[in-house]
Symmetry: C2
DNA sequence: GACAAAAACGAACGTTCGTACTATTTTGTC
DNA sequence: GACAAAATAGTACGAACGTTCGTTTTTGTC
């Protein structure tokens, strides 16, 4: 339990705001609606952030924390190398299946929402996505350096492909209600990685 | 030139609206902003559609026409089978590169924007995406039936993977400004298809 | 060129948006 | 329990939203 009440309230606002934004988008996320759903006044909520843009930034940060907690950290328990790389992939697909964000992957949605709107929010999202792809590349490089996969593999290329499969799975699962989407992605990931496997 | 003036105006509104929506989203597309950019009155523009939702639906339809015209039809000139399948893939990636929609692929953005919002707009987008994936599957089936690729291929699986690569390319190219994104996608598509090729 | 129909306009509606203030309540500390 | 500080509420604002309606302009037909 945090020391001050303000910080506690702020966190619970953000948890709810992340869920709402994953459904309605960061633009569709509105201070009035958020305050109403939380049973507090617009101005009281507003005071925690000072502007809509600051709220959006805080929401993006909170979503990133949830993302790391739910996808990345669990996978770090797997031993570095091939296993961990595979654990990250499985973790990603299970994260969609578990419905960590009610509207599907927050960052896939935010990426497409903001890719054409210059500003701080866009820059933050881009930075986080760069971090994510970078982390994926690092996991690939580790697997390569441990001698688990073909040394000729291009980490950036493979990270691109894996991430594409994740986004594609999220799309098919959430928009098309394709129940097999996650299995399809899993199958594609496995056959791609198995083909690179060594030893 | 169309017979009636109304229809001409409607079309030019929609062409502009599609561009605007690809940048700001279908929700961010606003009647006032659109009217201002076109130098006409809000009410005059509004009268063409009767409601915001009808405008959104018309915009989605107009975007679909552009999509088919720019991606699909050109690829139909290639002979059916492996060549046409590859032509569709190339066409898709070049469509992103040519900037057919200023904010990146309209349907990738619309899919992620509306996947959590029930309603007619969402249903329409979903139907169009089903059509698109269906068309991709058909092209794959043709290539298979012509004996150009491995007869054991699962069209739905391969269509899923190709589409994922397209969306992934759009994401990396537009949000991350990864200039190599399209080449990466091209490379992934080619190696996936070449591995299936026969004869 | 007359004239009905179609298209575009201008002004206003009620609502909601983000934001700014001031007052009130709640909190943590001594 | 007093008391300053922090948190929340209340009210109001100008702007923008989608929408309605009556008027004016433009169009196509005879």
């Amino acid at each position: 339990m945090l020391a001050v009440k303000g910080e506690r309230t702020r966190q619970s606002i953000l948890e709810h705001a992340v869920d709402l934004a994953s459904l309605e988008g960061l633009q569709g996320l509105t201070i009035g609606k958020l305050a109403e759903q939380l049973g507090m006044s617009k101005s009281g909520l507003f005071a925690h952030f000072g502007s809509k843009e600051e709220l959006q930034l805080a929401v993006v940060e909170a979503a990133a924390e949830r993302y790391i907690r739910e996808i990345f950290n669990p996978a770090l328990e797997a031993p570095r190398g091939y296993e961990r790389l595979m654990a990250i992939c499985r973790s990603w697909l299970s994260y969609v299946h578990r419905g960590v964000f009610p509207g599907g992957c927050f960052f896939a949605a935010a990426s497409f929402e903001f890719d054409g709107r210059p500003g701080v929010v866009r820059d933050t999202i881009r930075g986080l996505m760069d971090d994510w792809i970078g982390a994926l590349e690092r996991a690939i490089r580790m697997a390569r350096d441990e001698g688990h996969i073909d040394p000729g593999v291009d980490p950036a290329q493979l990270a691109f492909e894996l991430n594409a499969l994740f986004f594609g799975a999220n799309f098919a699962y959430h928009l098309r209600h394709d129940e097999q989407a996650l299995e399809r992605a899993q199958r594609a990931v496995e056959s791609r990685l198995e083909a690179l496997r060594m030893g």
